[in-house]
């Protein structure tokens, strides 16, 4: 095994080009477990800790450019206003020690369907900034997850940042597990209201081979809100609309039975989370005087 320690982003890209099978290590909270348990012996480890810009973020007009290694602790504490859904999701990651090291780049690189950030990224709307010596590109989050623990990155690419849309309305995140801390999701659900475009976006974690959006549920709800004039009136969402939204969210799942839960339980729980988080966000939207401010 070789331990590569690039001092700059350019050096990191060059190293990845030279050794496409090199495994990037930033927080180490995924890869070190695999190495400690002898599940993986990469020929090259590519340490990204010296590249300081990966731990920085920039708040722009439309979105936040979040460096791949910004620790979850920083997202929770410093980006609550701009990225409320992702901040809530970050707070459910493992423990303080893990949140101090792990970041969204690792979640995206590992691309586990159970990664906590994914539903929030799908709901907010995001693009993954991937770069190689050949150049840089933005991959829409909807096209990023390609299979169980597979993503759209080319072998020579590294994740530089993720561009997450700043909240233009309330966002929520819910996760089912056996306890609050140190738990991998049985399933998870993220929702973001976008009053600016009068749309609703969602994300489902751990209930399909990849993180997915509940697109039929989104379309149904957006149409129902439009039809009822709810975005302007702030009118209540009827129980039948909430119920249908939950059923469609549940229907977007394609889960499996495993040690953490059955497929049936996951479908059920996703429906419950969809209904609850819709209730929370919509109440917040109504109470907030329908401003465009997001809040967690």
């Amino acid at each position: 095994m070789d331990f590569l320690r690039p001092a700059s982003w350019e050096e990191a890209l060059a190293a990845k080009a030279e050794h496409p099978a090199a495994v990037p290590i930033a927080g180490g909270t995924d890869i070190m477990v695999e190495i400690n348990f002898d599940h993986r012996r990469p020929e090259h480890l590519l340490d990204l800790n010296r590249i300081t810009e990966l731990s920085e973020w920039e708040v722009g007009g439309e979105s936040v450019r979040l460096g791949a290694s910004v620790p979850y602790t920083r997202i929770m504490e410093d980006l609550r206003t701009e990225l409320p859904g992702l901040a809530l999701a970050s707070h459910t990651v493992a423990s303080p020690q893990i949140r101090n090291r792990g970041g969204v780049g690792g979640n995206l690189g590992t691309a586990s369907p159970a990664g906590d950030a994914h539903p929030a990224l799908l709901a907010a709307g995001a693009e993954v900034e991937a770069e190689s010596v050949r150049g840089s590109r933005l991959i829409p989050i909807d096209a990023f997850y390609t299979g169980v623990k597979r993503n759209a990155l080319a072998p020579d690419e590294l994740i530089r940042a993720v561009h997450v849309k700043k909240a233009d309305g309330p966002q929520q995140y819910a996760k089912v597990g056996t306890r609050n801390a140190m738990v991998i999701a049985v399933c998870a659900f993220g929702i973001a209201l976008h009053p600016g475009t009068r749309t609703v976006r969602t994300g489902i974690g751990s209930a399909a081979p990849t993180p997915v959006r509940a697109e039929a549920a989104e379309e149904f709800l957006s149409a129902a809100l439009e039809e009822g004039g709810c975005w302007d009136s702030g009118g209540a969402i009827t129980p039948s609309v909430a119920k249908r939204f939950a059923e469609l969210a549940s229907g977007a799942c394609n889960p499996i039975d495993d040690v953490r839960g059955t497929a049936r339980y996951r479908r059920h729980a996703v429906g419950i989370m969809a209904r609850r988080t819709l209730g929370w966000t919509w109440e917040q939207y109504r109470r907030s005087g329908r401003t465009l401010e997001g809040a967690a």
Partner: protein, 208 residues
């Protein structure tokens, strides 16, 4: 292939040789530097027994690759008493201290030498009360509150609790629970541990 890693441990410059590239910081501390205070239990970041400060930040040392600590600053439970004393005297906590960068303390007067750290024990002249040993306030509080049973989780809890009290002088119960949520204890049921942190916080408040 192996490598050499230079980093600061408990305020003193250290060098570890023959380090395998996939090795964890925890392994380097325990097996190469002879500092067994940080415990090796789950090796997957679940239990917190190996918690140390890395540039001031609490992390699971089992999930930090040894090569990642080159030039950085680590505090282990063996150095916690000195670390807390220096913080009280000079007001430099972990984050400020990390800014000293390479070499830790400029004068070399602070920090815990490796030989001392290896011999460190909470025993003193009376292991029941901690009498005669130099303890950090949080260590003394753990003894006084009866928060130690088998002791395996204790080093990680001490490092995590000390960091909590450094940034939050009067934590609520919810703050304490959250700060310690990454540290598992299978003996105490946590009540005595919570008592100990409350006690340390109360004493810290009285001292100010």
């Amino acid at each position: 292939m192996t490598m050499r890693v230079n980093f600061t441990v408990n305020g003193r410059q250290q060098q570890a040789d023959d380090v395998w590239e996939g090795e964890s910081l925890l392994y380097v501390l325990r097996e190469r530097l002879g500092l067994p205070g940080s415990k090796n239990a789950c090796e997957q970041g679940e239990c917190g027994s190996c918690t140390v400060r890395l540039d001031g930040v609490p992390v699971c040392s089992c999930l930090v690759a040894a090569g990642q600590v080159e030039g950085r600053d680590v505090v282990t439970v063996e150095g916690l008493a000195d670390f807390a004393r220096q913080r009280a005297e000079h007001g430099h906590g972990g984050r400020q201290r990390a800014e000293h960068g390479h070499g830790g303390c400029a004068t070399g007067a602070c920090g815990t030498p490796l030989q001392e750290a290896r011999r460190w024990s909470a025993g003193g002249t009376d292991s029941q009360t901690g009498e005669g040993a130099e303890l950090s306030p949080v260590q003394q509080a753990f003894i006084d509150a009866g928060a130690v049973q088998c002791g395996f989780c204790t080093p990680g809890l001490l490092v995590a609790a000390d960091e909590l009290l450094e940034r939050n002088a009067s934590p609520s119960d919810a703050d304490i629970r959250e700060a310690l949520s990454g540290n598992l204890c299978r003996c105490t049921g946590y009540e005595k541990i919570l008592d100990a942190v409350r006690l340390a916080a109360a004493r810290q408040g009285e001292a100010v």
